[in-house]
Structures are given as C-alpha cells and as structure tokens.
Point group: C2
C-alpha cells in the first residue's frame, strides 16, 4: 500500500491548471480529520473501521489505515472488490445481504477476502446458510441492530434477534457480532442531543449483544457508529469497534450538526466564473448540480447553504456567498440577503473559486477522480470508484 | 454509427440476471419518445438538435440522429469530444465559453469538429476573438439570450446584445446565431401556461435575431428549446432549430409538468428488496440516493413522488407505492398515506422492482452504463459518460 508520504500532491499554485469543475481534496485537512477521529477512537478504547463509501478512493483508505484503522466498511460489493484488490482484506459489507448477491460475496471470500456480511431477517439468514452449505463456505455474518428507527435492523429487544442468530449459528455460519448505525444523529445539532443519541446507539447495540450471549450464542464484535455519534459519545463501554465515514472530509451538513468547523472541510469543488446577471447580483459558475450533486442536506438545518459555500481559491470562506441555485452545468452564485451590486467586479469572468459541499459523499460521487493537493507538493489524481 | 436495428437488446426475462441497482432503458419507449419529438419538430418546420446531456450515451444519440435530428447539443467539452469521436460533427456546446476552455474548443475544431460555442458577455466575446486571432481560428459563436430570467443570457432588448455581437463580428468570429433555453418552463403544469412560456421563449429569441439583422449583423440560426416548450409551442415562426434533452427518457418531473404519461418513462432503476420494517410498512430496497440521485424535483410539484415511483419488473406502475426515503445504498419503499400491513408478503426479500426517477438526467448520472432492453431481444450494455 502507498504511504501518504510518497503520494505526490498538488500545490495551491497548480490548482489553476485544472479543468473545472474539479473535486479537490485538501490533504492536510484530510489527514487532520483522520488523526482527530483515530485519536478519539484510541482514547475510547475501540477499534476503528472507516466507511469508505464516502471517498470510494484507495489513497484515502490507505491514509485511514496508516493512521491505525482496522479494516474498512463498504456499501457495495464492488467497493469490497476494489479495496480487496488493493490489499485490504478485513472488509465489512454493511448493507443487508440477499441471495442474489451471495455468489459475489463467495467469490471474494474464495479469493482470500475476510468479508463480513450483514442480515436482519430470518429469510436472509436462511438464504445465507443454505448457500453456505451448498458451496461449503462458512460466512461471517453480523446481525444488524436498529437503535434509532431510521432504517434497517432488528430492535435490541425483538424476539427476531434470537431467531436470526439461531438460524445462522445452527446453520453453520460464524455469528460474528452485532452492528448498528444511528443515522438519525444527523438530525441533531446540540452537544447534549448528540451525546444522547450516541448513548442510545451504544446501549442498544450492547443490549443486543448481551441478549445473544445470555442465550449462549457468540457475539465477539459490537460495532456502532456514525460520524456525529463517534465524536459525541461520552464512553463506549461494551463496544468493540466504531464505524464512521464522512468525517474524513466533513461537509456543511456536519458543520451544521456541530461536529466540525468549516476549516476542517477537506473536499471542495473548484469552479470558474463564466458569466453574470448583474442586476440580480448573480455570478454564474460552471459548477451546477452535476458537480455539486442534488444534495440539499442543509435545507432543513439551522443554516441553509443552498448548493454550497463559496470560498476563494485558497480555501478561505467568503461569508454570505453561496450557490443559491443550480442547473445541470450552471451554478448561481449570490449573496445571502441583499444582492451584491458589485458582483461583476468581485467575481470577474474566469475567477477560480472553491465551493464547500453540503454532503461530501454525494458530491464526491459526481466525479471520476479527486485532485489532491497540499502546500509545496506536486499534483496527484486519485481515482474514485463509480457504479455497482 | 450503429443503427438501432443492429443493437442487441435485453428482454424482460433477462433483467433478473442483472446486478442491482441498475439503470435500465426501455428501448421501445425511448424510440417512441424520439419519434414523438422528431415528428413534432418536422411538423413545426424546424431542425432538431437534441441535448445529449440527458443520456450522455452514444447509442441513444445514434437513435436520435437516425430519426432525423441535425447535430447535438452538449453541456461539457468532454461530451463534445466523446460524440465527435463517435462521428458526430455538428455540435453546440451550450454553456458560456470562458478563456480557460478555449484551448479544448480549438483542439476539437482543428480535428474537424464543427463546434459552435456560446457567449453572453463582452468580456468573453473579447477573449474568444483574441484567442481566435492568436491561433488563426474562426470560431462559430452563438449569443445566448435570456427569455425567462432563470439563468444566463442577454435580454432581447438589452444594449449588450449589439455590443457582444459587434465584438464578435468585428473581431473576425462567425456570428452563428442566437440561442435561448426557457428552463423556467419546468415550473408550470397547465397547457395554457406551457404554451405561454413557449411563446415567450420563441418571441424573445426571434426579437433578438431581428435586432441583430436590423443592425446589419448576420444571424442565421435562431435556436430555442426545452422539453416542455418544444412540446407546447403553438408555432415556431422565425425559429430555425429546437433543442431538448429529457424528452428522450421523460421522468416524473415531466409527468407532473404534464407533457408525458408514466407509460412514456423510458429510464428506471432496477432494484432488489433486501429487508423490511414490517410495523412501519416499509420495504428496504438496494436503490438508495446513490442510485436514484438526490434529485427531489417533484417535491414542490403537484404530486411528490419522494425518490421515485415503484413499478413491477414488467414496468407496470404500483399506484401509491413510492420510495419515501433514501440513504446512500438503502431506499425506503412505502405506501403513501396509510402504511401497508402486508408489506412483507407483497414485497418478499429478493423481489425485483423498477423505480421511475424524478429526474432522468440526474439519475442516469449515477450509473456508468445503461442496460437496454426490449421484447424478444438480447441484452445490451450502453456506456454513459461520467465527469468532465
């Protein structure tokens, strides 16, 4: 695997050579974010398994693993294959398994990938053990726990927990543990509320593990996490590992949640001013929704950044200037509140800007590659996985 | 170029062999949409230049050209290069040109591409003619007209129109014409309102052309269009060509605008049921926002389809069932209004469904390729361009 120290990076001075729009990673900020999370996980006494669905980029995952992460979490089996091809063997596929995806999971395991899979139903558990028996494969299966009602999983006190566990255990699968994701943590924005949802996530997942163990079933792993809860948890007693994804770049949604400052946002979209509607106070840029994504995650938060916060090319925020609208390849840059009468002279045609996104996972997905840069370093292009 | 008759296509029976999520094109519907638009353009006496930003797919563009389209419209220079490489020479790049993109435009023209570029400012017009003079290239430049205030362009009666035209003409560029796009047509949903915005688009663009001609300047092309206005215009007197994009697939936004039925929607996302939350009336599918895109274009329309309309694998609509929520790789399928108490038996784990998207341009962009199918035909994979 490549060490970050050997990866050539772009200086700010070379950003102006890029075609726009372009997704750029501020590598010192990214490394700061990685260190911040890893230090916290170490202090809390848990393993850390970053969710690489945010970056879908092996260079980023290398930096996370080099800082101390133990394995990765993926959201698709294509991600699993890519990261396994790149030398990562300890991989959790954190989306409920179905029969039609078992052949791809089997193929990865046969190639030596220590792939863990997830289920939350008797039906899928039965499919897993039947397929495992047919092909002589012992799958490592984690049971998904629902600790906040936002998506999938079995409630910690639901009878189905033991039903699913017994199907797996009796059917010859390895009962690897329990996992949960309190995605509703994104809906809060005070330290108290975040600490409370973190405790709810921890306690619920530990409760599920305890029930399994009390029933004589194995449950070595207790895996929890989301970026807000990982950063807000007061303690993680009973938890063995944490998963988080977006922390590696952070974004405006996380800024509104209150777990980062804008100085920690490591992903931005480089864009060029291509025109104006002076009487409206608009500059038109070449970052539309195709570049920013259609994610309007800050729309219902305490501060709505439109399609993104405008920054100078050096990354410094221009307070009050946002992308207030977007067409496919046109972004509308304006000042919040009163229109800027000096929009044309402030943002002449050809001006390069950087836009901080609402949601790094969604914005990154619009680009085939990132351009990584840091002070006094060379340009680097880091490919990003696309599709399934 | 490939004729549609020679393109192998998938039958419905083979859809169940695809990994999910997958973007699938119902080719008979697509060909119907292409024929519908082309027939209308022929009847209105105008050329038709489809906007390939919707599909970003050469196989789709071939079908449009085979049906009678004259050239294509693109939203990025990467699209221009891809379609030129594929044999299309008559290409309009419909986003305002800036100096930094002129070398790429020059390279295309030097290779034989009949690339037209667009401007709406004196500053960019000056950059174009200066660059053209330096490199001995006569660019074909169209002036963008703003007929509805929604984005870029010069108002038809603005003095700047003649200023820009003179900079181009006197500087040695070819003044190719005027073009406009009444994107605000998406905001209407009655035949009367659509006819009115279509007439506003037509009249404004013709007015701009008349002003140029009255000033002794050439203006051979008068180009207008959006899918709603193209389908709603009562006449197109003075217009020489129309551009439209999304009509090739249509989508739920266009359905709400009122220019298509759901039976005309040619793009859908194939997905698999992976779990349930029975007490909530939810089925969980593997099409989250990464597959559907974050586009919530129907949110403010007369009918909100969430992240998409649920259909059986044969494409038949299941009324009232929508994707009501989405995480990155999880979609939440539920019934509008009362939760469905039979959700588990109605949608067993492993069930394949197809989801009609809000916005075909945005959903398509989430996929590296389309799977094209039609009755009694073979599977075809059609690549889709990604990035800039």
């Amino acid at each position: 695997m490549t060490s970050m120290h050997n990866v050539p990076l772009a200086s700010l001075q070379t950003l102006d050579t890029l075609d726009t729009p372009a997704a750029v990673i501020d590598v010192p900020r990214m490394l700061h974010n990685i260190q911040r999370m890893q230090s916290r996980m170490t202090a809390l006494g848990v393993s850390f398994r970053p969710h690489v669905k945010t970056s879908k980029c092996v260079e980023v995952a290398h930096a996370q693993l080099a800082a101390g992460a133990a394995g990765v979490t993926v959201s698709t089996l294509k991600e699993a294959a890519r990261f396994f091809d790149d030398g990562v063997t300890d991989i959790l596929y954190a989306v409920g398994m179905v029969a039609s995806k078992l052949p791809a999971a089997l193929a990865l395991r046969r190639r030596g990938c220590d792939l863990k899979i997830v289920t939350d139903s008797v039906a899928s558990a039965q499919a897993i053990v039947a397929f495992g028996a047919e092909f002589g494969e012992t799958f490592d299966v984690w049971i998904e726990i629902d600790t906040d009602g936002h998506r999938s999983g079995i409630r910690p006190d639901d009878d189905a927990l033991l039903d699913v566990a017994r199907v797996l255990h009796d059917g010859g699968a390895t009962l690897g543990g329990v996992m949960t994701h309190a995605g509703s943590s994104y809906d809060f924005d005070t330290p108290e509320a975040l600490a409370a949802i973190a405790e709810q996530e921890r306690a619920g997942c530990v409760r599920a593990a305890t029930r399994l163990r009390d029933a004589g079933l194995p449950c070595p792993v207790v895996s929890v996490g989301s970026t807000p809860t990982a950063l807000a948890a007061a303690h993680l007693d009973g938890v063995t590992e944490v998963r988080a994804g977006v922390y590696v770049f952070f974004d405006l949604v996380m800024h509104n949640v209150g777990v980062c400052t804008t100085d920690e946002l490591a992903l931005s979209v480089l864009t060029t001013v291509i025109g104006h509607q002076a009487e409206k106070g608009w500059a038109i840029v070449d970052a539309g929704w195709m570049a920013m994504s259609r994610d309007r995650g800050t729309q219902k938060q305490k501060r709505d950044f439109g399609y993104g916060q405008v920054c100078r090319i050096d990354g410094s925020v221009m307070p009050g200037y946002v992308l207030s609208g977007a067409n496919q390849e046109h972004g509308i840059l304006s000042r919040e509140g009163e229109p800027d009468p000096d929009i044309v002279t402030r943002f002449p045609i050809g001006t390069l800007l950087r836009i901080l996104p609402n949601h790094a996972c969604a914005t990154g997905a619009q680009f085939p590659e990132y351009h990584a840069f840091g002070p006094d370093r060379e340009l680097a292009t880091w490919p990003r996985l696309h599709g399934w």
